[in-house]
């Protein structure tokens, strides 16, 4: 294969992976605090539409991304109120958030369907980005790609090196013990949920601002769910979240290139690849129940009532 093709595949893999990476990092922190928010898909859609609408209206992509994060955080706030304050079932509320997000984003985005928007500019570091293959890959991406990588490092350091991160992990491990020691379990979880929402919002906005860039209904096409799968794939370790997101991004891109190359397989079957790959990866990871038990936050999904 010509190295331009390789570069193209790798470049677009980075593009395709970044939305899932943002969302999965957010969900990782949420799950580490013991909350399972299945509403990632809905929050990403809300982020995607708000990012697009704000950017289209103001011409500022930075504002678009920021407000997408705020919108994602607000949407997750609904989930937080229901599950943390009103003690509702986390699985059901996560599903509700996804359904709500699909509807709300479609409603807000209706007037913007089919309108074009210029993609986020790529940062070119002169000289470096001209190196073949790795040049554009490492030095020629847009700002959000670099931010996503910085966020991965930041999340890793936060969870493993800071006292606040230790407290988040402790709350996820045993909310009763954390409560007995006087930690505000609900407040900590609420922040973790909002962080997850904000990150999903940014991930969604990356889809509508950089990846496609346009708005269409349901444009996440399951990426929120794949982000959830990334967290399971990572067995709750931040470095592996990055690996997982890039792996799933690669499947998405590889099948698109296969379609372009006229592989003698119907395109519908090629399009199944990311979904089937997700199932396959889940099966491989989940077989090792011991590892899941070692790393999964022990309170994940359990309702906490402090009295």
């Amino acid at each position: 294969m010509h190295h331009d093709t390789v570069t193209a595949i790798l470049l677009s893999t980075v593009l395709a992976s970044t939305p899932m990476l943002f969302a999965a990092l957010g969900e990782l922190v949420t799950e580490k605090s013991g909350v399972l928010n299945l509403g990632v898909e809905g929050m990403m859609l809300i982020g995607a539409v708000i990012g697009f609408v704000v950017t289209a209206a103001t011409g500022s992509a930075i504002l678009g991304v920021i407000l997408a994060a705020v919108a994602g955080a607000l949407a997750s706030g609904i989930f937080g109120v229901l599950t943390l304050l009103l003690l509702a079932n986390q699985v059901a509320c996560g599903l509700a958030l996804t359904i709500f997000g699909i509807g709300l984003s479609a409603l807000i985005g209706k007037p913007f369907i089919g309108k074009p928007l210029s993609a986020l500019p790529q940062l070119h570091i002169s000289g470096l980005s001209d190196i073949p293959v790795i040049g554009p890959l490492i030095f020629g991406q847009d700002a959000l790609v670099y931010i996503s990588i910085l966020m991965a490092i930041a999340v890793h350091l936060f969870l493993n090196r800071t006292r606040q991160g230790l407290i988040v992990r402790a709350v996820g491990e045993s909310h009763d013990a954390a409560h007995a020691l006087g930690y505000p379990v609900v407040g900590i979880r609420f922040l973790a949920v909002m962080f997850g929402g904000a990150m999903s919002g940014i991930g969604g906005s990356y889809l509508s601002l950089a990846y496609t860039p346009l708005w269409s209904e349901g444009m996440t096409a399951g990426r929120g769910w794949i982000a959830l799968a990334c967290v399971t794939f990572s067995t709750w370790r931040s470095a592996r979240v990055v690996l997982g997101a890039y792996l799933f991004g690669f499947f998405t891109i590889a099948q698109l290139h296969a379609q372009a190359l006229n592989v003698p397989i119907p395109p519908e079957f090629l399009s199944m690849a990311p979904y089937l790959a997700t199932v396959l990866v889940l099966v491989i990871i989940s077989r090792d129940a011991t590892r899941i038990r070692m790393h999964a936050p022990a309170s994940l999904g359990r309702v906490f009532h402090g009295g």
Binding site: A170, E173, S174, G182
Partner: protein
């Protein structure tokens, strides 16, 4: 140890503490005064209000009325962090530790200003050496024994330099030898002027350790005494409010046919936090009560799952009921062969908390042909209701009826219901885990009596318990489980608490020699 406090200002003075929960007055105008250097016992049955009172002192709960004075100053303790800043430390009954975190991380979480990890690690080592509480800061908590976990809790408290240390039932999970070591630590602390509030219902321990005792019953202070001058029996009667009755035994065990045999039973749980049972051998005969002692977490849960059929074994011959291999079959088949099973977890395993007692009768009673609660795949709810009503009546379960939810019953009544439900099937083999753990004395006595009566009527009974007093009261023979290994059984009459205690601490070889020397 100084009985008299140094100076006149008490470390802590509670006046008129009252706390109301829905349907229960947990603390009713409680007064309590603690002096510096004093070891003070807080005595009472389960539900007497001890835990609520200490949670109020530690800021976990808030009193509805009453005042708290700390070293002469009136204070409001809003949360545990405030309590810790005042100088209150607490070691919880159910440890508030995080399994997947390290010892040092756990300790850091319990301190308000832990400082850098490196310094903290050094401080942990210092304190643990000073008080004889050996600990490795980098180990993960899930790899520690129960005794070691308690050390983590104590070291965590001590690093906060408390002037009042609250210990909630600290010895319930320790071997007698570990208890002795703990007491040495506590005495050293008290000689340094620290006040210790020691909560327990184990009277002999209190007589050995404590300077003063306050007795709670039904949320009220019903008495104060000097435990060294008061008999255990007198204190027990203060706690319970009536005289104690011991269970009646009708003659010795009849040597019957083997009902349950374990033959080199080994479990293979993949749970990294599990303690697998290793090559356990045991025989329980009809008409006898055999006990298994041991500190929690030594493989009891895994052994019980293998006995009940919840865990299917690789070799059917590892468990035999009446000589027939059953290791490969589940709970349903084992029940049909005459086994009943009372699990340790009452809510969530022994019963479904959100279901009625009638439904909970069906839970384990569905396969008992005699009561025919099922007909062609459908539930005969009338029969399940009758059965539940009969259990309630026969075993004096305080419940409004068969429609009460399991979770609405008190611990003791729920246990009476479960034991009654399992006994009414007229099993030929009964396996009971922790029959009276957390149950009030009245219910405990009636449960013990029922178990003894059942055995004397010819049922083989296996009791797994952490409570040595209970095992000595019930059992004809006893074995100890330690790190998944089961010792040989000893005649209960031929052994002592100390001998069993050594086994519980893992001194199997020495015990064998002792037995040989004795025989």
């Amino acid at each position: 140890m100084a009985n008299a406090p140094s100076g006149n200002t008490p470390r802590l003075a509670l006046r008129g503490i009252t706390k109301q929960f829905p349907g229960c007055l947990a603390n009713d105008s409680v007064d309590l005064t603690l002096a510096p250097g004093e070891v003070h016992a807080l005595l009472g049955e389960n539900g007497a209000g001890k835990s609520t009172l200490v949670k109020i002192i530690y800021g976990v709960q808030h009193a509805d009325a009453g005042t708290i004075e700390w070293e002469g100053q009136p204070v409001h303790i809003g949360n545990p962090a405030q309590a810790r800043r005042l100088g209150v430390g607490m070691v919880f009954q159910h440890f508030s530790l995080f399994e997947s975190l390290t010892v040092a991380e756990n300790i850091a979480l319990g301190l308000d200003n832990p400082g850098p990890m490196k310094d903290l690690t050094k401080r942990i080592v210092d304190v643990s050496q000073r008080y004889g509480l050996a600990l490795e800061p980098t180990r993960h908590v899930h790899t520690l024994s129960v005794g070691e976990r308690q050390r983590v809790e104590i070291v965590r408290c001590l690093l906060g330099e408390p002037r009042l240390l609250i210990m909630d039932e600290p010895t319930s999970v320790l071997t007698p030898q570990e208890v002795e070591r703990l007491f040495e630590t506590l005495r050293r602390l008290s000689s340094e002027g620290k006040t210790i509030l020691y909560i327990s219902h184990k009277l002999e321990e209190i007589r050995v350790l404590c300077d003063n005792a306050t007795v709670l019953r039904g949320g009220k202070v019903v008495g104060k005494c000097d435990p060294k001058m008061t008999s255990a029996r007198a204190m027990a009667e203060m706690m319970i409010g009536t005289e104690l009755s011991s269970p009646q035994r009708l003659g010795p065990a009849v040597e019957g046919a083997p009902m349950l045999e374990l033959v080199r039973l080994s479990t293979t749980s993949i749970d990294p936090f599990a303690t697998n049972v290793k090559a356990a051998n045991l025989t329980v005969r009809a008409g006898e009560i055999v006990g298994i002692a041991g500190v929690a977490g030594n493989g009891q849960a895994e052994l019980l799952a293998a006995l009940s059929g919840e865990d299917i074994l690789p070799d059917p011959n590892m468990v035999k009921i009446e000589g027939k291999p059953v290791g490969h079959v589940g709970p349903r088949e084992r029940r049909m062969m005459g086994m009943s099973f009372v699990p340790e977890e009452r809510l969530g395993r022994g019963t479904v908390p959100e279901m009625t007692l009638a439904d909970n009768a069906l839970l384990s009673g569905y396969m008992v042909g005699e009561f025919a609660m099922l007909s062609s795949g459908m539930v005969r709810s009338d029969r399940a209701q009758d059965y539940a009503a009969k259990v309630i009546k026969t075993f004096n379960v305080a419940a409004r009826g068969h429609h009460s939810l399991a979770r609405s019953l008190s611990g003791g009544n729920l246990q009476k219901f479960i034991i009654g439900r399992e006994m009414m099937f007229k099993p030929r083999l009964l396996v009971v885990a922790q029959p009276t753990w957390g149950v009030d004395a009245g219910a405990a006595a009636s449960i013990h009596q029922a178990i003894i009566d059942m055995a004397r009527a010819g049922t083989a009974v296996l009791v797994v318990s952490q409570d040595l007093d209970e095992l000595f009261e019930l059992c004809d023979r006893m074995a100890v489980i330690y790190h998944g290994r089961l010792s040989d059984t000893q005649e209960a009459k031929g052994t002592s608490v100390e001998a069993i205690g050594l086994l519980m601490g893992g001194v199997f070889g020495q015990q064998d020699e002792d037995t040989n020397a004795a025989s």
